[in-house]
Amino acid sequence: MAAETQVLSPVAAASRRATPTGIAVRALAALPLLLLVLLLPLQSQTFGQDASYAAIFVIVGLSMNVLTGYTGQISLGHQAFVGLGALVAANVVNTGIASPDPFTFAMGMLTAAAASAAVALLLGAVALRIRGLYLALVTLVFGATFADTIFTLPSLNGQDAGVSAYRPDAIAGEYRYYLFALAMVLLCYYVDVCVRRSKVGRGLIALRDNELVAAAFGVNVLGYKLLAFTISGAMAGLAGGIFAFRSQLFSDKDFLSVSGFNLALTFVVIAVVGGLANRGGVIAAAIFFALVNPFMEWFAGQTHWGTFYGNNKFYISNVIGAVLLLQTVILNPGGLGQVIRPFARWFSGHKFTLHDPDGGAGVGAMEGSNVRA
């Protein structure tokens, strides 16, 4: 009995039917968040600077998300890409204490992203042939070596005094510069979404979960990994460019030895604590780790812990990062993203439920991967 093909109503669509009240309620709930993002940095110069710092961290977090979350490759040397972006942007614009015209500034940002992408491509072409855990080792040594050899060249770091990076007049103020950084965040977010939704993104997830199976289904494993590495490098470079013009000075010291190593580990911590392959979680974690130091500084200043905090800033942030990292990997593999998931789902138009109908896609990131070294 060859019955006519029956068209069922799409079940998924049914649960996210857009009703006027639904949209209105969600818009109303989103309003305070939006105000927080847009108005809080307006309060003072410091708030604006901290907000730009958070934006930079979000971009690096998205960059780690593409590499670690989607592709399952770990990078312990990302400070090299961020630092290279900062170095290139400052040197390309290089107008001394005069403000550059917008075109030069844009070229600086573009070359920053391009340079880091090129270096990532070169490193990836060699290092991605190395399987599994060894890649973590190579990136660790690469990050330290690259920073220590290239960033210390006197012709590039302004004879060890730093390269000044003045902003163009249109975005000279702290708040305006923050808005520029925010626009770049949106750009990177868009790229991240595009990567994830495209054929490439599905290929990356497939090879992350099982390289051999992915290859058997025709995924160009090395090519896709290389693409992810390059995109990640470009984002990190862009973040570096924004970083240089945020402090209006490129200083190699920010990326060398201990501070560089610490930065690299912070980026990994952001990717893991945020939740692997979880965009929203990574963004939340990036904002948290960018703002935790200024907040602690303010908090310590209100109490009699001020001096203690000032002397031990570095170690306190180490302990905070480490405790969050360990509790995430041991107890809560989904990370921050898993915690905020019900709200994120509700905002995207689903019914509010604490039971995750997707079964937490992405929690298994790197779990089933063929990283056996």
Binding site: G72, I74, L76, V126, A127, R129, I130, R131, G132, L133, Y134, A136, L137, V138, L140, V141, F142, A144, T145, D148, T149, T152, L153, S257, V258, F261, L265, V268, V269, V272, N312, F314, Y315, I316, S317, N318, V319, G321, A322, V323, L325, L326, V329, I330, L331, P333, M366, E367, G368, S369, V371, R372, A373
Partner: protein, 318 residues
């Protein structure tokens, strides 16, 4: 170019001897840290990024008991060193119980991220605990009340400390090698690393084996820390992780991640490569003009070994 010309006017043998002796001395340090890395890779198939901090913990605990700060008893050097070793083993065992054991079934990458977390936590705690910072343990010469060096070879002092490092490295590498080759526990560790389920089936307690292998790694780390935390470098929180650990990893990879004698060979080889890359005369033209020539050389060696011969000089499996 000037450095090449300047080097030519010196005694040529002196010029080669200095990096040779320095290289072997530094290489012993890389080997000592590398030994613990190899042991954990051999038994658990993971990279332990906390190995440098096991060493720091051992050195710091030994230091606070010899320093005579007044708060803690001022103990003889060898008692303090023993307490340092106990502390290092204790931290390693805690790491196993609290971090590694709950993640037995997880991917190795996650375990490695866990060890990074342990390293970060230990660095932070070492920095926050109240004890005099930037100090150093006494050298072997100071402990025995003699001069610091045995003698001089063309005016380069041969330090007792370096000899102790080298001897300890050889002894520990040999002991660990024999442990894996000839004892039941050593064989059981290897069995677990190859197939944990099969090992469990024949009656090996995987949990106990894991605890033992981490304990030994802690002991090796503690020995390394106590021997390396002497002037001029001394003890700083995270000092071993920042400087020694990356090179020790490269050394272990060069020697072969699965070979304990390889840790010795790789350590010495990498120490020599570093020393010659930074030497006054140029083996590779222009390398000594780069600010971090030694670091660059280490990176290139690591990359070439992993691409050409991933099992290293003495390792057996890929």
């Amino acid at each position: 170019m000037t450095s090449v010309l300047a080097g030519a006017s010196f005694d040529a043998s002196n010029n080669i001897l200095a990096p040779l002796i320095n290289g072997i001395a530094n290489g012993a340090a890389y080997g000592l840290i590398g030994l613990g890395l190899v042991l954990l890779y051999k038994s658990n198939r993971i990279f332990n990024f906390a190995q440098g901090e096991f060493a720091s913990v051992g050195a710091i605990v030994a230091y606070v008991f010899t320093a005579g700060t007044g708060v803690l008893p001022d103990l003889p050097y060898f008692v303090a060193a023993f307490l340092g070793l106990v502390a290092a083993v204790g931290v390693a065992l805690l790491t196993e119980r609290l971090v590694i054991r709950p993640m037995f079934e997880r991917a190795k990458v996650i375990l490695v991220v866990g060890t990074v977390g342990v390293a970060l936590l230990l660095i932070g705690l070492e920095g926050l605990l109240p004890y005099p910072k930037a100090q150093a343990l006494p050298t072997i010469g100071q402990v025995f009340g003699t001069q610091d060096f045995v003698g001089r070879i063309s005016n380069i002092p041969i330090l007792y400390q370096d000899i102790a490092k080298l001897v300890m490295l050889v002894v520990l590498a040999a002991a660990a090698f024999l442990f894996f080759r000839y004892t039941g526990t050593g064989t059981a560790i290897l069995a677990v690393s190859q197939d944990a389920t099969a090992a469990r089936v024949v009656g090996i307690s995987v949990e106990r084996i894991s605890l033992i292998s981490w304990g030994i790694a802690g002991l090796l780390g503690g020995v390394a820390g106590i021997l390396l935390a002497v002037p001029p470098s001394g003890i700083t929180p995270g000092g071993f992780t920042g400087t020694t650990l990356t090179v020790a990893f490269s050394a272990a990879v060069l020697g072969g991640m699965t070979s304990l004698p390889g840790a010795f060979v790789g350590g010495i080889a990498l120490g020599l490569i570093e020393a010659f890359a930074n030497a006054d005369f140029a083996l590779v033209p222009g390398l000594s003009t780069v600010k971090q020539g030694a670091e660059l050389a280490v990176f290139v060696v690591l990359l070439v070994v992993l691409l050409v011969r991933p099992r290293g000089l003495l390792g057996r499996e890929a």
